[in-house]
Amino acid sequence: MSEAPLSGRTLLPRLWNDKDIRSVVIQIIATVFIFGFLAYLVRNAFINLEALGKGFSYTFLWQQSSYDINQHFIEYSSRSSHFRAMLVGILNTLLVAVCGIVLSTIVGFVLGILRLSKNWLTNKLAYTYIEYVRNVPVLLHILLVHGIIVNSLPVPKQAINLNDGAFLTNRGFFVPKPTYEPLFWGVIAVFVAGLAFLLWFRKYARRVQDETGKHYPVFWVGLGAIIGAPLFAYFLLGSPITWDVPILQRFNFKGGLVVRPEFMALWLALSFYTASFIGEIVRAGITAVNYGQTEAARALGLSRGRTLSLVVIPQALRIIVPPLTSQYLNLTKNSSLAIAIGYMDIVATIGGISLNQTGREMECMIIVLLLYLVLSLLISATMNWYNNRIKLVER
């Protein structure tokens, strides 16, 4: 066998049957093919851009944008640059993503717990709600909520008056705007001190418990330190916040803080949509913890609450966190649907109006895609860090 001549007819099959050589060949072919294809696309793009006389440059970012954005956290006007419009868009996306993540987590955990309720009626109500919300497209929820706000809420003249300072209208939700006096820094200082104290106290309580078995009520002490103490300081310093209450002018409210209908619709729809998924994740996570764990904790004499907080929840979190991460990512990506109702996020600013005004499709879309990739990576990294912290420590 080994003396068989290496003629052309047997060489090829032989090389093909050698696993190492074959894998190298396959990879070389794949690389050549894929890079060739990409090079072809890029070449076409250059030729086409050349033909249109556009070139590829980002100088347009410093031209005047000439459009208005009604919700901006940094100074912005129609005379600002496209770059600044992009920054406003990024901030708006971040705002709705962060607010959405907070609200959807709260609502989601409540739904998950209701789904575990022994009460048949509550359980089925939560089930119906979850099934309805998650089987309907999120875009539809956004449009529905927006439609209800714009079409069904009253005009500012007949605003729904909540508590003489907050008004619900179809132009948005008007609330008093806080203006901080210098003394307010004192309250913030107390809050920071309380937070530092809480962190130290948690460590200390853990050490004492490890050494002596004595238990401190960390939760209540913490609550006092970060909420009670600042509240006390606030009243002690003579309430150093003045409220700028919105006042009805001829057509609209003036002053105060306005939460616009677009933001409200996007925020509520995204949060409640994502919450229905989080609810199911929480329920699955908690039911996945073996019931023996609860029984063992009860047998050790832990109270019901401590069984939950020390035994069940830490184990459930390990199951909950990875799918929760992907829900947060989904929420952030779904915030791009803002464009359907005219909320000015990344897609609507740089990928929408700026793109149409300057005709720089390629450059604008590359920015938008990169921004979302970075955002996704950041959220993944944060949640992975948290997941590693709570992970089961194995040998």
Binding site: A51, W120, L121, L125, N151, L337, G351, M362
Partner: protein, 372 residues
Amino acid sequence: MTEMAGTPYKPGEHPDLPPPANTIGPIAWIRQNLLSSPSNIVMTAVSIWLLYTIIPPVLDWMFFDAAFTGANRNECRARVGGACWAFINERFSLFTYGFYPIQERWRVDLSFILLVAALIPVLYDGLPLRKFGLYFSASFPLLAGWLLLGGLGLEPVETDKFGGFMLTFVIGVTGIAFSLPIGILLALGRQSELPIIRIFCVVFIEFMRGVPLITLLFVASIMLNYFLPKGITFDLLLRVLIMVTLFASAYMAEVIRGGLQAITRGQIEAADVLGLKYWQSMRLVVLPQALKISIPGIVNTFIGLYKDTTLVIIIGLLDPLGIGRSSLADTKWTGLSTEVYLFVAVFFFISCFGMARYSLYLENKLQTEHSR
């Protein structure tokens, strides 16, 4: 005590007593499930109060106070205070077929009937001659494509006439049919021992999962022409179909990778020992087990894709939501957004809930381990 120790028990002497009355029947059920503890009673009360405040007004609005006929919005609103379904009534064919030519609509109906016929052998395995049924299912996309697009003896119809529920079905079914095989290939590529193949698959999957579908649709609608040689252009619907399929297949790949990782190394080694080649061992040993585990995830991805078809309205295709939105611009019917969106929501709910239920049924059927 004395009795037990005393007289011996004779079989049949003491007939079985019925269970205590307070542990069976509806009353016991209510006591156990609704009123077992003070907190439980409070929850029941709150739930009933919620139902009482929500259900009657909603029912009134949707049915009892609603207008089902009327020529325009004001006529609707003048008579009753509830929903105005007359609008949906008037536009129903638009919602179903979009702008598909009226005399050719039988082709859409026929494709839909064939779709149902093609789904039966796929979804239900107790059929006689199922094998031939599956051949028919496999050829369905071609057949439907011919029916809807025309050509070869049928009047050609441009894809910009597609719309309504029909468009949802076209995008949804195409995406579902093609994203599964592509997803399987991507998942295998990501698990491959060949580093370069693995890197390509990882980059593709992570890129697709990292950006929103809407930006990809923008790319498809405004940028794709730049990447093609001059003069060559293809249909917007086709571009959307490709993007939606690629997007869904990246998610599909991750779901299937989860299933692949759950298969123990021993299975692959056993297949190697039996002399199976790579593709044989994947097809006969690994994938059947991996796909079975990933069924819930796969169906969830299908549902996600199906719901995502609504996003095409943002680049100007007219799915039911798009039809509804453009109809709302008609001055005869302004301000009826709630009715339109609820109508479309019901359609999506029925489709997606149905898929989820089927997935549960399939999971139970394929469950070969002993249930606990």
